[in-house]
Symmetry: C2
Subunit: 305 residues, 2 copies
Amino acid sequence: MIEKLIEGIKKKNAPVVVGLDPMLGFVPGFIKEKAFQELGETLEGAGEAIWQYNRGLIDAVADIVPAVKPQIAMYEQFGLPGLAAYKKTVDYAKEKGLVVIGDVKRGDIGSTSAAYAAAHLGRVKIGDHAFPVFDEDFATVNPYLGTDGIKPFIDAARENGKGIFILVKTSNPSSGEFQDRKIDGRPLYEWVGEKVAEWGAFHMGSTYSYVGAVVGATYPEMGKVLRALMPKAYILVPGYGAQGGRGSDLVPFFNADGLGAIVNSSRGIIAAWQQEKYARFGEKAYADAARAAALDMIDDIRSAL
Amino acid sequence: MIEKLIEGIKKKNAPVVVGLDPMLGFVPGFIKEKAFQELGETLEGAGEAIWQYNRGLIDAVADIVPAVKPQIAMYEQFGLPGLAAYKKTVDYAKEKGLVVIGDVKRGDIGSTSAAYAAAHLGRVKIGDHAFPVFDEDFATVNPYLGTDGIKPFIDAARENGKGIFILVKTSNPSSGEFQDRKIDGRPLYEWVGEKVAEWGAFHMGSTYSYVGAVVGATYPEMGKVLRALMPKAYILVPGYGAQGGRGSDLVPFFNADGLGAIVNSSRGIIAAWQQEKYARFGEKAYADAARAAALDMIDDIRSAL
């Protein structure tokens, strides 16, 4: 799947992933009204609203970006109807040729991580059958539990032609609280990065590993160090736009081949219609606003690289 | 909710939580056959099988233990039907007076953690309404992202009378890979433990905080240090039984008041019918076997304390 991702990035000349984090406040009124009229102001109504919203977004960006990254928390908060919308979103994006990165940040011990890995990257065995479940192409994984929490995800990725991105240095303000603490003179995130490189070395596509890393755009200097430490790891870079990262901050995350990183923007794209800059589109054309914002982001990154 | 948990522990004289981690391999054949006959060897069939299995287990232990801890990964792997079984399990256990600890190990940045917190401890707002979603009493949380990943869970716990257990030192063999690394002379898990104590100090029940910690039974010496470092934190202790922890290992996790820890056993109880020791019960009486194993565990811990 890392090959498909790289191919998409090259073909569209866009190392960009659109984060599908559908907070209800981002969903245009006309979509919510219709969904609530049909299903009430209920979990079902909310699930329908975010699904319809996502469908419009996917249609609007599928030809210009290689991937989308639904954030499962935004669906899980609406319970089963929300998770049904998540699954529909994953399936629809794949139908449209997009690579789907499930931002699930799961991680547990051995057999439990194996169950999560089956849910998101593999298949679950029931009697004589094996079923794909949420079936994203990539999943994000939390490293706090160490190798035996990670390995089941790597195994599932290998067996199913999928991939993972392991949290190394997250984009949030307090990420340094533990991640930046020095161990033998080097911050924890470097030790985690070193492990990512080690795990990845045994799990390679043709040029990059399908074991990647998450490193926030908000920390470009750390990105530079981590880039060098994990030369074969694809880096998923959140924090562009709304969280403060700019195109020029992104250069250190890329390799000399122009590859090696894919930058996420969520609300900066999907809620563009609420920004003054894209207000001309109006609520009805929220998807066109998202497309315009995605094109602007692609330009910003292209000109920085 | 920490008060209700402590009250239950005292009343039943059992600092024990039964882990509801229903791997299909643990579910007796007669339950699976019935579910598969009705719904096929499908996700729906698996969801029905684990729900029926859990119901029997809950009925068998509700009067002798204060709490259950469903591990959501084991349900998530069966997709929406699995998560429907999770929700039914949470609701049924609460109906039976049990405290429910959702072992979800979620954790993300600000607004995303807030969505997870709404899903598991709070309510989600939809129009003029606010709905409880999975609505467990406690949730486990991963600390890797620091305070702004944790705070939304603490807020939701405070507002809704719930609680959390933050991963400090996990029970698995490779937990030391990052958690044991020394920072200024002290292992990472101690720094996380110190934060738990700090967060907890502002979020107290009458004697203990509703911000607790997870520390594996497999590391009793670390448990001793962490017990002293977090005197007001309730410690959720996994790793008893199948993972190698014994009653005598548990003493360091408790305070002098005999409180401060609750010990989890999952397969040691719920799959007791498959152990030689409880084979006399037979498959049909799997729930009686679970009850016997829970009583043995309670005795083991009582005599150790």
